[in-house]
Structure formats: C-alpha cells, structure tokens
Symmetry: D3
Subunit: 69 residues, 6 copies
C-alpha cells in the first residue's frame, strides 16, 4: 500500500507506553532523533509492535507546522 501522506520516516520502536485506549510509541530514527506517536492500543496489538521492531512514522503534510527561533 502506498499512501498520500508525504512524510514516511523509517526507524525502530524504542519504547511503548500503553494506556487503556491509546499508547505512546517512540520511534528512533537512524541518526538518533526520536519521533513520538500516539496511536490506539488496538493498533499496537494489530501491528504487533514491540521494542526494536522496524517501523515507519507516517505524517500527513497538513499536520506539520513550522517554527522559527
């Protein structure tokens, strides 16, 4: 499946914190930067996410803001 979302960043799951409904999944990119994601706990189970697993962080361009110092 190829998706319209413009940002697809490859990395590895670093940590997962599970709540009742949502879970926080931290993805480490190759350079060491991390991307934090909130997805449903059901998706964590469905995708069989676990620490160390290779994943993609996927972000729709309209959800990216720009800031300057």
């Amino acid at each position: 499946m190829k998706i319209s979302a413009r940002n697809v960043l490859k990395g590895k799951v670093k940590t997962i914190v599970a709540g009742a409904v949502n879970s926080e999944v931290v993805v480490e990119l190759p350079g060491g930067a991390v991307i934090t994601s909130i997805i449903t706990k059901a998706s964590v189970d469905s995708l069989q996410l676990a620490e160390g697993k290779e994943v993609y962080a996927v972000i729709k361009a309209s959800n990216v803001m720009i800031a300057v110092d």
Copy 2:
C-alpha cells in the same frame, strides 16, 4: 515559547511552493531527509520563510501514525 508538541525537528527550508491560501514548505533535516509541511501562505509571510532559513518542523504526537512492511 515552549510547546506541548512532542516532535520538534531542526532543519533548513529547501523549497516553498505558494498557493492562494496554503503553501507547501519542504524542510531538509541534517541527515538529508526531508519533511513536507502545508501551512498558510500568511504564515510563510509572517515567519519570513525563505530557502535556506533555519526552521523547526513541529508535529503533535497524536498526528503521527505507525506503519510496518
């Protein structure tokens, strides 16, 4: 200003494409990866964005999805 958005990635503006209402701003990260953002044309003007300018791509964690192969 410090923001609750968990993802703040430093980079440089690579390209800007302006529409009547929205503009597409592509940010190049240090490692060469790019992040594409859609923000209003008014914000591009207000932040005085231009190619080469140092900026941050800012993303709320609830807007990040995870995908696997």
Copy 3:
C-alpha cells in the same frame, strides 16, 4: 505496508479538483456514499490518481468526531 490508522475504506475515485498546492479527491464507496479528502497535488501525481481508480480512504481514529441529532 500496514498502517496504524484504524479506518481504511475501499472505493473508487469519483472526482479530482486540483489547486496550486492541494487537491480535493472524492472517493465513492461501494454503497454509493462518498468520502472527500484534501491531499497535496504532489500526492495526486505521485499516486497517479485518476477518476475510476481503486483507492482507499485512510483516516486516523483520533480525527473522527461523533455527533448526535
């Protein structure tokens, strides 16, 4: 690629309206209902979207609201 977004609805592209930066893509579901999407023009080109093409409308659960009469 399998994605964490909980809502993946199969349909066919009904219409595409292109702007300078964003395009509006209307997807018709099997039952005749339509889903309207705004994605970048670059994604319309990259996915080679055209009327009649089989596609999926993909929606993160945190972006779905509930209303009652």
Copy 4:
C-alpha cells in the same frame, strides 16, 4: 447545527471502550463497515452515547488520506 466538515456518515454505536481521558467509539455503518473514533470520555458522557444509539461519524476532509495498492 450544520458543519463545514465534508464527511458526515450515519451509523449506530457498536462498542465503547472508556479510558481515563479518551474513549474509543466504534460506529457501524448501514452496510456493515465500521468507523473507529477516539473522543474524550467527557464527550461520550455529554452526548449520552451508548451501544445502539444512532450517531454520525464526522471527519474533516483535510484529515482523510488516500492510499493505493
């Protein structure tokens, strides 16, 4: 109230899973497809949502992505 969100799909609440802050509400559409939503627990209470209740799933067009096989 009439809203700018382009996608308003009528269905019935199938299941509700409550967390401390957010709840997951699954809506079944007439054809049997389901739409999963994450809203606050306070909204579930305020709208008096319960299994079987007729509701609408409401989605802003800019939050819909398109994918192809």
Copy 5:
C-alpha cells in the same frame, strides 16, 4: 446536531479568502480575538458563509496544543 468536539466558539465571519480548493475564514469572537480556519471552498459555499454572518469555530480537543513562555 450536537458534536463531540469540545471547543465551540461563537463569533462572526470577519474575512474570507478563497483559493481553488481551500478557503481561509477568519472569525471574530465577541471580545475581539480572532480565530483563523482553513476549510474547503465547497464548504464556504454550502454554508453560505459571508462577512458578518454568525458562525461557530469548532475544534476537536486533540487538535489543541499548549505552550508556555
């Protein structure tokens, strides 16, 4: 229709800028503050929005960030 979105702010349309696909609608709140919205041009037409019209700005709580100085 009553919606799960937690933030519904009453105001008046101050300005509308139309693009090919999206329009920017600025809403003035009673105290003089303004809220800027990007919705589709089709919705501006469908809701018959015009300067001076009484409207509500509607925001899902998961789309609100918090910042501090």
Copy 6:
C-alpha cells in the same frame, strides 16, 4: 520560538485530568470562555503545567471547522 499555527490564545490552566498516556488540560480565557486540550501526560510534566499557570492554547488553522445554526 514563533510558530506557523495561526491561533495562539492566552489563558490560564483551569483543570488538569491525567490519564496513563494523555491528559486533558482546560484553559480559561480572559473573558471566561474555556478551551479544552488533549496533550500527552509527558508534555504536562515537561511544561510543568499546574492550575493557575499562564499558558497559550495553540491551534493550527487547518484544524478549525466552521458551523452555522
């Protein structure tokens, strides 16, 4: 830091409800209106949010919908 998000509303934290992953933060604006936000619990801690603290509610324009009666 100056951000592209068009809506930055100054107020004070009125209440915080913490979940395992997300927290609900209610901000009271000067006129008495309230804005409800869902952010991660980690951000509540990181920004040292507490009742009475001066904060900004920040909202990207593409996440604001318009409704009419």
